[in-house]
Symmetry: C2
Subunit: 393 residues, 2 copies
Amino acid sequence: MNVNKNYKNLNESYLFSNIAKKVNDFALKNSDMEIIKLGIGDVTLPLCPAIIEALHNAVDEMARKETFKGYGPEQGYDFLKTSIQNYYKNFEVSLDLNEIFISDGAKSDLGNILDLFDKDNSCLVPDPVYPVYVDTNMMAGRRIIFIDANEENEFLPLPNEKIKADLIYICSPNNPTGAVYNKEQLKKWVDYALKNNSIILFDSAYESFIDDNNLPRSIYEIEGAKNCAIEFCSFSKTAGFTGTRCGYTIVPKELVFDNMSLNKMWLRRQTTKFNGVPYIVQKAAAAVFTEEGQKQIHENLNYYKQNAKVISGTLDKLNIKYTGGKNSPYIWLKCPNNMNSWDFFDLLLNKIGVVGTPGSGFGKNGENWFRLTSFNTLEKTQEAMERFYNLFK
Amino acid sequence: MNVNKNYKNLNESYLFSNIAKKVNDFALKNSDMEIIKLGIGDVTLPLCPAIIEALHNAVDEMARKETFKGYGPEQGYDFLKTSIQNYYKNFEVSLDLNEIFISDGAKSDLGNILDLFDKDNSCLVPDPVYPVYVDTNMMAGRRIIFIDANEENEFLPLPNEKIKADLIYICSPNNPTGAVYNKEQLKKWVDYALKNNSIILFDSAYESFIDDNNLPRSIYEIEGAKNCAIEFCSFSKTAGFTGTRCGYTIVPKELVFDNMSLNKMWLRRQTTKFNGVPYIVQKAAAAVFTEEGQKQIHENLNYYKQNAKVISGTLDKLNIKYTGGKNSPYIWLKCPNNMNSWDFFDLLLNKIGVVGTPGSGFGKNGENWFRLTSFNTLEKTQEAMERFYNLFK
């Protein structure tokens, strides 16, 4: 037996373990200072009452022979797919039920979708980037082409006709930069993909943070996208499902390459290598779309958005350049005085006990940049940003 | 973009859709006869009270900020891994916690584990077989070698030194045949794998149906297995989790090939392409291992085992040859009068309204064989087998 040797080419990321080590060392020596973590990439508010109630009810169904659920459809129950179908009507996107696949999260499907593509396909990823796009393709031995996302293009790179790629990763609102493509910009990517026979893998995990109604929340708001794009979304940040695990993937039936329907291929992949999301979790996800559920998740989203405003407002006052903060839970700031990312990390930690994430951990173009997130409490975010203001004022 | 062309070589299985069509047609014309389904491959008893209680408690934890759980470790929480570690001590198998990976079911991991192996590896599967072993390898373009499981070897094929293979699938107790390898037989496979540098992918999803203490419930009861085998197990049939989704995969740290640790590779795969099993589901799975949980799941298992006895007892009285029925929820019988599988299916349906699964649907060696399962109610199983007895006596 020979192993998949592509795994030898994977880099280990020590980003978060290095951060944890520095924070621990500091905490041991400075027990008097409260450390505030604005590097959290996970939700912190509990599940909403409507979701909790749906979970309890579904658990009770599993306790009675008459309502017990065994194997469900691998692609998800219609009750949840119908809710998602209706949700997309809010953006004037019309989907067939069989174009919607319920997943255990965007991360799983973003990795597993690669099963459908030839190993010789190239893929295009922006730098800085969510590392999963790179690693999943390295595992398959694919050629990766990086394009620069930087201050010049406001971290929203546009297609370059000289660079050809088969698979194109777009995350908007972006992790880590918080930058959001507008419709005109996204249209350029769709046109490029259509022209070059490429597939866009569109990660919309943060779409619910978009407040500006002119910004696209789904790539299918762009004409032609159903012929070139697969969309991945998740309840993780929308409804606090990071530990509850549910998302969805849209594979339009228009996607036919080499006489093969990607929709049918994905159904075949999922029915062969997946057994669906737990019934109780699908009932919880459906509760997100009820009137009560929508009201409650938006209260939580507004809480995080308020934190983002506290951070971006401080940066505005200090004239520090950043992207995100609006329409995104992430704030991506340029380190003052052109400091490098790790020096800035050390400065914030050592001077004011505030923890963020060095931008260089997301790729070379992240150097001199820094990520803050809006997932801590309002009180702690305010306290952290007061300390931040006093340090740089 | 080019698609993965291996998908073009996949066969569509019409086995269960053909069965459904025949049953529907019959039902329309014979509304007076109660159809009894002994083809069910899914549990039917609800989740046990101890599991339900654990689910409700975990849901309540998700409702409070202080106990809410976001992202968990991709490989599973230690509280569940420790329970599994202790469970294996019952078979005198000692595991490190980091050799245990919590999954959303054996099917997912049986498919995804193939990421770790070179595309040029060959794989060995018995015929008849659970179709997932074949399809997942076809998707990767691997060469598949079938070995005969038949009446002669009692559906328990042993290694043939002339046939070399890199990946070897063993399911024991077997789906669909119900046959179970003893320790001496399994030792032959372990020795073969060690000699040929092969990996055994051991599917133990039905281990909890084993009553005979001399039969191995884990391949690691066999000396040398930690150097050549990965084990896949599931709570689906053990504790009725087919709709709740949890299982576990054991990747021993001794598995090192090409200087690569399969354990570390699998951790890398899972942390990159998976985000773990829902917290509430892991709490439910942990409840399976409590004293109360064990007592309650065994009441359910005994119920199914009693059904199996009703079926096998009838076949004994009729002198019809079968495998399984003991130590397995499946009964694999030789069609009387050497009928072919579909003719026998039609006979049972049309004469007595009993539905089973034609053996030929699982491979060429399944021809003239037929699968019955023990997942219906005791009353219906008894009624079906009375009709069966009267037809063949």
